[in-house]
């Protein structure tokens, strides 16, 4: 009985950590956009959906499966979706989002409204165009790894052992590796410095010769690309359809707010928290209330720690 409960708990914990690290990556992509541009991007979930389909088509139609096989192929395809969506994000910013944000947004409040509705519109277009292009049937990227697992244990005298799905394990590892690479890019490189400067004080950055609009464009594209990789990784484990974005955009925002707006790595832990809450809640609540649990925990944390885990205070008198 007790051993069973411990095992269930550890199993849910492991599942939470695995899915949480992918949620974390998703959140980091969104946070990058918000952190640098201060734009609430409602289309982020749909960019992620595009990432999923990009991975899917890389794998099935563009020869990744043929070249690399079904075991390695899906992960390579997931990573490849990043650069593709980077370019797409770059164009979307250049053509649309950049026109109502950055240095062109004159009045703080009004500009804000324009950005919201613009990204809502973009979201609607991508979703519906996705429906036309990809159809409404659920698809998934199959890998043989998803039907096998590593066993940790047995522990406590053969009573407890945890199974880690190999496919999810690999996806989580790639996710963490992406985060590390991104953190190094932001922290060390010249590009990263200009992004952080543009985020911190756009006006001062302009005076220092940084092209703030260009920095925003790169941040937007990078954010879209990172979230697309997360989407590609999710695609190896979960079936998806063009409307899947709506479901994840909410998880993303919850994670970003938890991790703290204005932080780059904080949202990773925010996404991780969401993953853990989601999986652990299944131990005590019916599965239908999984998402309610997420939102309740989200609200509680936001009320008691309005700055999130890693955020900085933005408001000053």
């Amino acid at each position: 009985m007790t051993a069973q409960m411990v095992e269930n708990f550890l199993q849910a914990m492991a599942a939470g950590l695995l899915v949480g690290s992918i949620y974390g990556l998703m959140c980091v992509g969104l946070a990058l956009i918000f952190g640098v541009m201060r734009v609430i991007n409602f289309a982020q979930g749909d960019f992620m959906m595009l990432g999923m389909y990009a991975a899917y088509y890389f794998f099935t139609a563009f020869g990744v499966q043929v070249l690399l096989g079904s075991t390695v192929g899906p992960y390579v395809a997931a990573v490849l979706s990043g650069p593709v969506l980077f370019c797409f994000g770059y164009l979307v910013h250049k053509a649309l989002v950049g026109r109502v944000s950055g240095t062109r947004a004159q009045v703080e409040g009004e500009g804000h409204f324009a950005q919201l509705i613009l990204t809502l519109g973009i979201s609607l277009i991508i979703q519906s165009a996705g429906l036309i292009a990809f159809g409404s049937i659920l698809v998934s990227v199959r890998t043989p790894l998803s039907s096998s697992a590593w066993e940790i244990g047995p522990m406590w005298g053969d009573f407890v052992s945890i199974f880690v799905n190999k496919s999810r394990g690999v996806a989580a590892l790639i996710s963490v590796a992406t985060i590390v690479a991104l953190a190094m890019l932001i922290g060390r490189s010249r590009l990263g410095k200009s992004l952080r400067a543009a985020a911190d004080n756009p006006e001062a950055a302009t005076y220092m010769g940084i092209d703030v609009d260009q920095a925003h464009r790169v941040a937007f594209a990078l954010g879209v690309g990172v979230t697309a990789i997360a989407g590609g990784l999710l695609a190896t484990n979960y079936p998806f359809a063009p409307f899947v974005g709506l479901e994840y955009v909410i998880i993303m925002y919850a994670g970003v707010v938890l991790g703290g707006l204005g932080s780059i790595i904080g949202p990773f832990w925010g996404g991780m928290t969401i993953g853990l809450v989601q999986q652990l809640s299944t131990l005590v609540l019916p599965t239908q209330l999984q998402n309610t649990a997420i939102f309740v925990v989200f609200l509680l944390i936001v009320f008691f720690m309005p700055q999130g885990f890693f955020g900085r205070s933005v408001e000053r008198t």
Partner: protein
């Protein structure tokens, strides 16, 4: 109310025309569409009352909408109540939900507020699914359709929706034209300044979300009656919240017409596209719809109403002239009969010599002791100058005095009463007015309206407030600028406006934070003259400056702060010669020169 009714003429014309059109349409599909246009317009207006006027964007209005819809559905199924009764019940429940959501959520600001609002409807969505209300159908009442709001002729629904919209429009107008609306607009433009001007921001925001929730819930309740089927996704879903945003932002935020225009264009467009193209290529209608939104927002980011208005004003400038004249008359007219405003000045009940006494005030930010153990007294009717080098803690001291910051320790006595740890609006009410170092105008209001906001704290009626404001404007000599927008005047006028805004609340003590900063020599002289006159009229003044020059001739006493502590206190002549002051300002090596 009367004013609100009078200004509704354009709406009544619209409503009449709409009713005529509705009565000629017999196709039930298009009739439903005509009803839904009004439903979503009303829903957009409810969102507008909270988010359009306060600027606090809510992504969660579906919570109220859904509560309303399920109230009618479940009330009819389980208790056999009529929608005529259930819609008012839903309104009450929506108000309650607004209050319950508002109390914790208003602790958050900006994006945090917006995103937290997202969580409420979604949490409710899954709860209702889990409760087994995946699809609830309202029972048919064939024997008494009218009693259960079930009409065979769909045109009656359109009429009912038109009535609903009319009520919401009237409420919006009444809000807009009262101090309620002004307070909300002030909060939107600068919450800190609103609070300092004596507006209880939390109270007004709670009123706004309660009213907004009530209306949204009533609209949801009616929606359920019209559609007869309620599912969690169709009433709590994210697209419902998005609908409120879309119609309002598309039409124009912060105006009555925005949601109406947005809904009248978007809803039929979407439906017609759906009917005409939906079966050809499923999804194409939403692509076109999305494109329309995107293109419009690139062309008119502020929404259609404002774009159209700007266009009209540019094309036919004489319309602007008459419009602003209207404002002029409403604003200035009551200015003459305002002698009888509440007495608050000189007639203070107790006559302690010190109007303000500060003892042992401390405030730290992390390891930085911004203000440590500061104490001083201000005698009634005097001018006290607080000076000190940059970073000496002057503004922090002010923020403690007017309640923006809570002191870690210490005591603030105002006329013998302990006012430590009061909120800014309470202190304003108690007679503390302030201006800001970095000016905080309500940029999209006229100078006159800015000042009116400051007057509400002393006025029971709007007319009284306008009178107080007009007096304050006259006192600082800003009358010629009264009708200019605060966003388009110079630093001098903004400084004077802030002064007038503080004066309109009839303060007994005025805190002026670097009022002379950024002004030229003659402008500074002008302002000093005004401040001196205010002091002669009996207002006690505490003024911060970091340049001593202008201050020496103005103030009666100096308090010199350095590193957060009081360095010296005394008469201007003695303070300026004090070696410690010279050292703080210029460094050690200058003290010798100064004394020599």
């Amino acid at each position: 109310m009367a004013v609100a009714l009078r200004s509704l003429k354009p709406f009544l014309i619209f409503a009449a025309a709409y009713a005529v059109i509705a009565f000629t349409v017999t196709n039930s599909y298009y009739q439903l569409m005509l009803t839904l246009v009004l439903v979503w317009a009303s829903f957009g207006l409810s969102w507008n009352i909270l988010s359009g006027y306060t600027g606090l964007v809510s992504f969660g209005h579906a919570a109220f909408f859904g509560i309303g819809a399920y109230t009618t559905a479940l009330g009819q199924i389980h208790f056999d109540l009529s929608p005529w009764l259930l819609i008012p019940i839903a309104t009450v429940l929506g108000a309650l939900a607004g209050l319950l959501i508002g109390i914790p959520t208003f602790r958050l600001r900006g994006v945090y507020f917006a995103l937290s609002m997202l969580a409420y409807p979604l949490a409710l969505l899954y709860v209702f699914e889990w409760l087994g209300y995946q699809e609830v159908t309202l029972p048919m009442k064939r024997e008494s359709p009218a009693a259960y709001m079930q009409f065979a002729d769909h045109r009656i629904y359109t009429v009912l929706a038109l009535l609903l919209l009319a009520v919401v429009v009237l409420i919006t107008r009444m809000v807009e034209q009262s101090r309620f609306g002004m307070a909300l607009l002030a909060i939107k433009q600068n919450e800190a300044a609103a609070e300092a001007a004596g507006i209880n921001t939390l109270k007004w925001k709670l009123y706004a979300i309660t009213l907004s929730g009530a209306i949204a819930s009533a609209v949801g309740a009616f929606y359920a009656v019209v559609l007869l089927v309620v599912t969690p996704v169709s009433v709590f879903g994210m697209l419902v919240s998005a609908q409120a945003l879309t119609v309002t932002l598309f039409g124009g935020v912060g105006t009555l017409w925005g949601p109406v225009i947005g809904s009248a264009i978007l809803i039929p467009t979407a439906e017609i596209l759906h009917a005409e193209l939906g079966h050809v290529i499923p999804g194409i209608q939403n692509v076109i719809f999305g494109l329309a939104i995107v293109i419009l927002i690139l062309v008119a980011p502020e929404g259609m109403f404002w774009k159209a208005r700007d266009f009209v004003y540019r094309r036919w400038p004489h319309l602007v002239a008459t419009a602003s004249q209207d404002i002029a008359t409403t604003l200035v007219a009551p200015c003459s009969g305002t002698k009888a405003a509440k007495p608050s000045l000189a007639a203070a009940p107790d006559s302690t010599a010190h109007i303000l006494s500060v003892r042992g005030l401390c405030k730290s930010f992390g390891g930085l002791k911004a203000v440590q153990n500061v104490g001083f007294d201000v005698s009634r009717g005097s001018i006290l100058g607080i000076i000190g080098p940059n970073g000496a803690g002057k503004t922090t001291a002010f923020n403690l005095l007017n309640g923006f910051l809570r002191p870690d320790a210490g005591q603030i006595m105002l006329e013998g009463r302990d006012v430590t740890r009061r909120k800014p609006h309470q202190l304003c009410e108690a007679g503390v007015g302030r201006t800001f170092q970095v000016m905080r105008p309500f940029a999209r209001m006229t100078i006159a309206d800015n000042v009116v906001i400051g007057a509400y704290v002393r006025a029971d009626t709007d007319i009284e407030a306008r009178g107080l404001a007009a007096d304050a404007i006259a006192r600082v000599g800003l009358a010629p600028y009264a009708h200019r927008l605060a966003g388009e005047v110079t630093t001098r006028e903004l400084r004077l406006m802030e002064l007038a805004r503080a004066l309109a609340g009839q303060p007994r003590i005025l805190l002026l934070d670097e009022t002379l900063a950024g002004l030229g020599h003659t402008e500074a002289e002008e302002l000093i003259g005004i401040i001196r006159r205010l002091a002669q009229d009996g207002i006690t003044i505490v003024i911060i400056e970091h340049t001593m020059q202008a201050m020496v001739r103005l103030v009666d006493r100096f308090v010199v702060l350095d590193h957060g502590a009081v360095l010296v206190e005394g008469q201007p002549e003695s303070v300026t010669r004090d070696p410690r002051v010279i050292e703080a300002y210029l460094g050690k090596k200058w003290t010798a020169y100064a004394q020599g």
